[in-house]
Subunit: 264 residues, 3 copies
């Protein structure tokens, strides 16, 4: 599996997929730079007058609701529909799911359009399942992560989406398959938008890797490994944000292989 | 006082207050990172469909009019009203006050909602008082700073807001109280949005410190000291922007105490 | 010519021109910082209620359509008209020209307002000429760059705009005049928005330099030289973004003169 992930990483760099981002204001610069550093080509576009045309020329779409509003949410729905129509993968990043009724309403609409991949933290994944009125055993859960895994399974069953619960351990779920990644560094939680970068990079991999479970795994592995390596040379979260970009750009096979911690 | 300020800095880190930002596009990423580095948790949200719900789950609100427009200004007013209704502190950053009639109109409306704290540079504070038709002695002023202090006093009297005039010397005013901070570095003026970071960090302190004069003082002291220390190791404004975030995150009591320059 | 360009660089730093930016969300922070580092003073403002007033207090305007939508495009047109009315230079950055019909429509409208300077990459300049139905010999072209030069000449003839085609070699065209700059580094293509910074810096030079051909040349030379120097000390695109800002701020005459590669 490790070799396969590295091949996918090289595949993205060789293919330079064009990725359409409808994402939040906070992370746009950093997301674009993360995509460039990983070898993809970013487009940020939200105008209702052109989102469908942009989906048409891109290989994958990211919908990130971080700073959504009434106009942007319509653009997101329009673009996701178009992606489905054209058979292009689209990724949902449900930032702040559960924080407000409005966010939940829009997420419920977006879920009906069956994203190929959903990536969020445990609390967002649980809120997403709840907003969709999906039944999870819930009561039997003895730990936050097992509740999140149940929610992820429910979302996967209902919408046929690969689900990634990101956190200290990243958990990627699709059908019977489940894999864990144990890379990263606690300092990453002090940099805004690394989760958003993860979703965008996942879209880049989904654009060129047929198996979306593998695509998600490779993307999360890449960011986790780069974050872990970059943290070692960073004095704090400010420099970490930039060092991760450098590492996404210049990571070697040896660095990747010797740092990756993956398990079933 | 120095010890009290350091206690407030620790208080923020321990409490991790959730701060709602309706701020400008230019600084969103950096503001979110500054809040994270100082120990708070940022939310950026402006949709009229959810701003009131966001105010409800946060402990303080920042309204920064840097890139305001007709939609965003309504969101700001809506959020500030909700903050008042719930008794939560909100901070006004009057970016570009006086630059256009439109900016002044919106600021006049916002002032009616009595922000707990106002932070701006001398020219913005003076423009704010003028836009509110507040009488200042003006003609007797022999220096820009004394004019700004008069304007700050007038705003404080009229709206009961703590006022911070930031600049080479930061001046914090509330009723009879006035304090000066002489930290920082001239290179900070070459980094966009550090004033906006100051306002956001002030909100984080206002969220957990009862006395808003002390909260403002602690926030401004923290940023000034961190900026001054970070400038020493920065080759220019690019690296300074990141080094300040690192320093906000890892500043020690000894560094803070030995660098702080505060006076009445 | 080299000495003249350096004089223009110093002129900007001494004059601190106020530059009005209607630009895209992705690059706003970095554009503002690039302007500050080069010695200018940035304003970002897009509200239809104030763009004309902002044009009035600024010395030059940048219109960058990167993340345009229906509202923002009206603001751009309004501001460009006002700039013309007041005789202030405005610069067009046609990001993504040719990508969608909507982008082309808005660009066609903007071109009617005759920007003083147009800066884009070869593909954007060619798309711009095509969207304007300008006749270019086209078929005789034996290289991409000669096609772009033809397009630039056609745009220059039709709209009287100085045209800069940026890329590995930057080509600046006005009437019979054509100059080439061979600075920069391939790593710059991995940082988002350096083209947008180039346009903004060009506006800063256009604000204080009467001859717009020279202004464009000086701005592009400055960014190319700073990028080339900064790349030498950067581990990747993350740190490069910041090191360019540092270099824009602290570049010396000797560094500039010994690095500049200019030819007719």
């Amino acid at each position: 599996m490790e070799n396969l992930l590295w091949q996918h990483i090289q595949h993205v760099k060789k293919s330079v997929p064009l990725i359409h981002n409808i994402t939040n204001y906070v992370v746009m610069n950093n997301t674009a730079n993360a995509l460039l550093a990983a070898g993809a080509s970013p487009i940020m576009s939200h105008a209702q007058s052109e989102v469908e045309d942009m989906v048409n020329i891109c290989q994958a779409l990211v919908v990130n609701i971080g700073t959504l509003d009434e106009y942007w949410s319509l653009s997101m729905i329009k673009a996701a529909k178009k992606a489905n129509e054209l058979g292009k993968p689209w990724i949902l990043d449900p930032v702040g799911a559960g924080a407000t009724p409005y966010r939940n309403d829009i997420l419920t609409e977006l879920l009906q359009l069956k994203p190929k991949i959903i990536r969020g933290n445990a609390s967002e994944i649980m809120a997403l399942a709840k907003a969709s009125d999906l039944k999870t055993k819930g009561v039997d859960s003895t730990a936050a992560s097992s509740e999140a895994i149940e929610a992820a399974n429910a979302l996967n069953t209902e919408y046929d989406s690969v689900v990634c619960i990101s956190g200290e351990t990243d958990i990627i779920i699709d059908g019977n398959k489940i894999m864990m990644l144990n890379n990263g560094d606690s300092l990453m939680a002090k940099v805004t938008g690394l989760g958003c970068s993860a979703s965008a990079i996942t879209a880049a991999f989904a654009a060129v890797v047929e198996d979306k479970f593998e695509a998600t795994l490779a993307a999360m592995a890449l960011l986790g490994v780069c974050g872990e390596l970059a943290a070692k040379t960073s004095a704090g979260p400010g420099t970490l944000q930039l060092n991760i970009l450098d590492k996404l750009y210049n990571i070697t096979e040896e660095e990747f292989m010797s740092t990756l911690k993956i398990s079933e």
